[in-house]
């Protein structure tokens, strides 16, 4: 089964895509969704998609910016850009991007299926190394890098583009190794740790009566919707409730 990730700020678009395409017939499944580029960067290492549908017009980090980052970090990822017609030419201009296909919205099942058929054929013919599971490189170092990485995260969590793959590359490990090692040593996975750092900082800032969007920006999650979800998940309270409760 090929893993598909849908990145679109419109929930209905994601839902429709998920529901209307016969994924099974294509030997695919939708394994993750993200409502913004920011969220996608954050969760992509957990979702581990082979194929990503990316909407161009998204707030905070649009499809093009996301694609630029993702293409660099996940060279095997097949990216399909979804766009309304008025952005089509703009998207086309980014020809340097290794995009598999540009597609017009609103989607037409037959068109999407056709493109996915092509993707499937390509993946079937050229089974590629996954960007996420390349364990075999695993020359495991004697010294654990986790502490070092933790420090790095603490210092750099405000960078909204920070994620597991980036750090792995930076420190010269495979992401799966690092992910495993990280969990072993800290008891939590990478994303949880990164989020914890950000949320702790956010809790501090919430006390100062700062607006949520400003805090979200400051802690490296400039998408306030995603930030809000993360915050609620982490603290059990919405940002505004939390701010009130502390008062």
């Amino acid at each position: 089964m090929y893993r598909v990730m849908l990145i679109d700020d419109e929930e209905s678009a994601r839902k429709l895509m998920k529901a209307s395409i016969d994924w099974k017939a294509l030997n695919m499944e939708v394994v993750g969704e993200a409502a913004s580029g920011i969220e996608a960067i954050n969760i992509i290492d957990d979702v581990k998609p082979d194929i990503a549908f990316v909407d161009i017009s998204m707030p905070f980090m649009n499809g093009i910016e996301f694609t630029e980052i993702a293409a660099k970090r996940y060279p095997h990822l097949i990216i399909i850009i979804m766009t309304a017609f008025d952005e089509f030419e703009y998207a086309r201009k980014c020809v340097s991007l290794p995009v598999f296909e540009y597609m017009l919205k609103p989607i037409k099942r037959i068109e999407v299926t056709e493109v996915l058929q092509k993707v499937k054929t390509q993946l079937d013919v050229n089974p590629r190394n996954s960007d996420y599971d390349n364990d075999e490189s695993g020359n495991e170092p004697d010294e654990s890098p986790v502490e070092q990485i933790q420090n790095y995260i603490k210092e750099n969590y405000t960078d909204s583009k920070l994620n597991l793959t980036e750090i792995s590359e930076m420190f010269g490990f495979s992401s799966s190794y690092l992910s495993r090692k990280f969990k072993q040593e800290t008891g939590m996975n990478f994303v949880e740790y990164l989020t914890e750092c950000r949320m702790e900082k956010a809790k501090q800032l919430a006390v100062t009566n700062k607006k949520m969007f400003a805090v979200a920006n400051e802690v490296g999650i400039p998408d306030p919707n995603y930030f809000g979800r993360c915050f609620k998940k982490y603290t059990g309270l919405s940002y505004s409730d939390y701010a009130k409760s502390v008062e």
Binding site: S12, A13, S20, L104, K105, P106, K108
Partner: protein
Amino acid sequence: MDTTKGKKTLNQELWLLLITVLAMFVVTFVVSSAFISQKERYDYEIRESETMINGVSGSISSSIGTLKNLSRLVMLNDAAVKFLRAKEYTVGDINDARYGVMDVMNATSNLDSIFIFRNDGGYMNTGKGRYIVDFELMEDYPWRNNILKERGGAIIMVNAGGAITRRNEETIITIARAIYDINSQKLTGILLMNFSTSMLDEAINSQGDKNLCIVTSDGEYLSGDEGMCGYFATEFLTDTIVHKMVDINGEKVMISGYQIPDTPLVVMSFTDSNINVMSNTTMYAMLSMVLVFIIAMILAANFITRNITKPIADLTGAIELTKKSGYLEKLNVKVPDNEIGTLSDSYNGMVDHVNQLFGELIEKEKSVQRAEMDALHEQIKPHFLYNTLETIGYMALSDGADDVHEALETLGSFYRNFLSKGEHDIPLSREISIIKDYLAIQKLRYGDVINDEYDIADNVLDWQIPKLILQPVVENSIYHGIRLKGEEGLIKITGYEEDGDLHLIVYDSGLGMEQDVIDKMLSTEPKDDKMEKEHSDVAKHLLSGFGLRGTIERVRYFCGRDDVVKIRSEVGEYAEIEFIIPSRHN
């Protein structure tokens, strides 16, 4: 040229002018040449007559002079002197004198007779005829005084003033002088020397002209043409030649007269009016002037035609041509490099300027339209529409209403193409997919009333055509064709290439169109205000599918020609609209 019908062209006016001038010239020429010839004839006649008269009178004067000298010889003749000096004279004296005088007389042919009178009335004479002498007259004081007052000088008289006449009545001319004795200087007698008119005849003959006549100062005939002496007038009695015109048998004849000085002789001449006095040289000069003038005029006309009217006609033709072609094009006619050339250059400059203005205007118009379209798109907010469609689509899908989802998907696809902006031209394939979506939705509405067929050649699928030129036609086919007929109908889209042009045909088996409707649709006349108003509302424009007529105009504008749209129809059977898109757009 149609535009010059009913008015004179410059060329025509030019020729008219030239012909008028020529006519005026000819008239002037004829009149003036007649006048000049008249004048010249007159001058010629005067010249001729003066020559003749002067010739005759000169001849006569010189003859008379000779005779006068001869008369001196007579006076000095010894025998004559002796006859005059003798107190008593004998017949022998008279005979001596006669013989002496005869010597003189014989020397001159024209001498008629010589009379020498003594103071006492005796006389001698010698002559060629018989004479009557009027002694009484000779005794009269006036007669004698007339001679004596000259103190020996000669006077000329006719018939010796009436004193001597020939018995045969031939007129004689007399040279009379008083004779004075050489020694005593006393008056001794009177000499009358007579000569005959044959001397005058000789003078006239010497001029070789019969139109001469010599008369006495009383108008009596002496010599020449006797018939002429009736025209004698006293005004001729001057020492200058006098000319007068006389009517003879309806012909103008010039009579000139002149009295030979110191004589009672008047010379008259008639000039022959029949001779052509107009000199050939003058005639040729004038004729060649006319010829030169005509040639000059033809050359001038030709010059003007070639350098002005022809280039102007060429220019006008070229301008007409560019007018018909619908574009303002620069002229490429060969015109002379003068003011006409400047005109052509100026026109081309103006064309540039106008085209530039057109361009600006069109740009402006386009930007306004684009702004309106942008505003419209903004109003419609495709994202909102698409997201809503997707949301409803998902709702339908999750409720198991697959057909609803399908309809929404088609609608979304239709609007995706229909509302796409930024492009005016799209590939034919996309226009076809718009039509397919459109008809799919319309079929949902009207069920199986509509059938559609497509016959598009593969090689034209990528041709660029103006966006949305087929959809309004199809819409028209449904609402004004098939729906009105009330039975199942076919819409067929055909596309193929022929001679490099793309032919797009929308056929429907609907109600068809009346010819006047077709004519109205194809009319290139500007739309009336009402229609214009309808179309100015962009939203209506778009939502009503631009309307068929608006579409036809757009296709014509796109192709830059009017003949790219054809409509064929049979009322009650079918209607067929064909667009022919020239290859230069692909």
